[in-house]
Amino acid sequence: MTPLWMRRRRLGLALITSVVLVFLYLPIAAVLINAFNKDSTLATWGGVTGKWFGQAVSDPEIRHSFVQSTKIALATTAISVAIAICAALYWRSAGRWGRTLLDSTTFMRIALPEVVTALALFVMFRRLNITLGIWTVIAGHVMFNSAYATIVVQARVAALDRTLEDAAADLGAPPRRVFRRVVLPLLSPAVIVAALLTFTFSFDDVVTSLFLAGSGTVTLPMEIFGLVRFRVTPEVNAIGSGVMLVTLTGFTLAAVALFASGGLRRTIGRARA
């Protein structure tokens, strides 16, 4: 029999954990629930409806901003992952100074508050007379996302067995083919994870987008931000739920990819051995 004090302590911990979780997830649950609320004032529960989703989807402004966000996220992903692969491969063959330099620029981009980098880019683009728009937003997103992607890919590169590349060269593959047939396939789990993370971070970014979008470009999170300034409508809840779905899908796929490449495979390997 477990002593009383121990049971009490366990109960106390469970209680605190539950309270924290409730406070964290209750607002999110409220968004999800209200997305289906028939009462347009959201004051009461008026029954279940799907019409807010329909309304959101048919709203041309929301559709436009969704397309903009998707374009930006896709471009950001492609550029960030390319930068990450190059940086990680450079890092591997670099000397001590090169490594330190690369690592510090990477961590700097993560450590600096987003407002600061966004502001800095904003000032720079203005100085250079570059018109703000979709490409400046992409540049801003790449700025911090490529850092996250680099860290993910770098970990995999560090574990890469260099003799495999020697073997490929020895078997007649020129450097370009060694990369294509050996390095890239072996890095692919990390590349997929980096891509999904980058897409997700870019898709729901507000701060950098606000600074760098200029007047003509509106992303989905910016659109939502604009909508809630007047009133929280059920439509906003529906859009919020939609964004949540996109983001969660991204993270889930990333987690699955990570698990499938590392954890799962290692577990199977151990079971076989």
Binding site: D170, G172, P185, L186
Partner: protein, 379 residues
Amino acid sequence: MAIVTKNTIGTNLDRPPATASGHGAVTLTGVSRQYGGVTAVDNIDLDVADGEFFALLGPSGCGKSTTLRLIAGLELPDGGQIQIGGREMTNVPAHRRPVNTVFQQYALFPHLSIFENVAFGLREARVRRSEIRARVSRMLQLVDLVGRDDSKPRQLSGGMQQRVALARALVLEPRVLLLDEPLAALDRKLRRQMQESIKDIQRKVGTTFVFVTHDQDEAFSMADRVAVMNQGSVDQVGEPRRIYERPRSLFVADFVGVSNKIPARVVRANGDGSYEVSVDSLGTTRVLGVDGLAPDEDAWLVVRPESMEFRVGSTAAALSATVVDVAYMGPQVVYRAATDVAGEVHVIAPGRRSGNASPGEELSVGWQPDAGWLLPRGN
């Protein structure tokens, strides 16, 4: 009789056998490689003949693996020239050299099946699909791996992975096959089997093999000729028997086996490779030795333990000794005995015919007159 032996072994066997084409499979001329000021390979010359099984033998860090990587093109030399099949290859990158390598940890591609691993080089060479299929399966048959085409490398045992690595390299029909300590990761029994099957495969395909190992048994049992490397240089090249019986330096003598070193002084060089030497308390005897020893020079008379024997009573060509330890090994018995003149010596006698010497016993140890080999004291 000893001198006749010297002459037959002496002249030709340090050189590679002559080939029909007139040039060797691999020729290194004055090749050097440094890493940040440290010389890994120091001005070496090597000549490997066509169809030969050649071993590079030496302790770790002697530069043997670097030499192999230089031949493969995975490293480029700082100086010297490399020719493969008579063609200049010094600065040709690895993927354009007609050599293939079996790596120490096999380096199989973990994301590819066994079939695709073996087909890797053929695809790079843009061989027709049907031919790839035929050549890969023929090769998997040669290394006794039929039916494992779709397995991934990690599903195979160490010995099987080793054979895949061999198949993957041989399927390209290289001019020279390089093997970098390919058996080091296997357990002892499997290693024996693999040594034999690699030797069989080499005989079957007739390809030139250059094999790197730190294991003297392995080098001797597999190779036609062995190069003993030490600190980036080649100390001696020759047939195993010659390297064992006629080592050129004390390093070679010690690395390829146990040597009993008896202090001796050169009395006279006979000019035919033999010397008159005086060994303390034994008077003068006649022995073979390396060239260039001068009269009055201090030298080592090196005798292998299996050429030593116990004798009853004290005879002329023998040292008085006290047995220190007896180790029964099955096929042979290894004795350690303390002598006044040569310190502790090892004596190996065949297990079955061995006498019953036991620790503490006082005997004398002698050696067959043609079994001694004279080396300079300096090194």
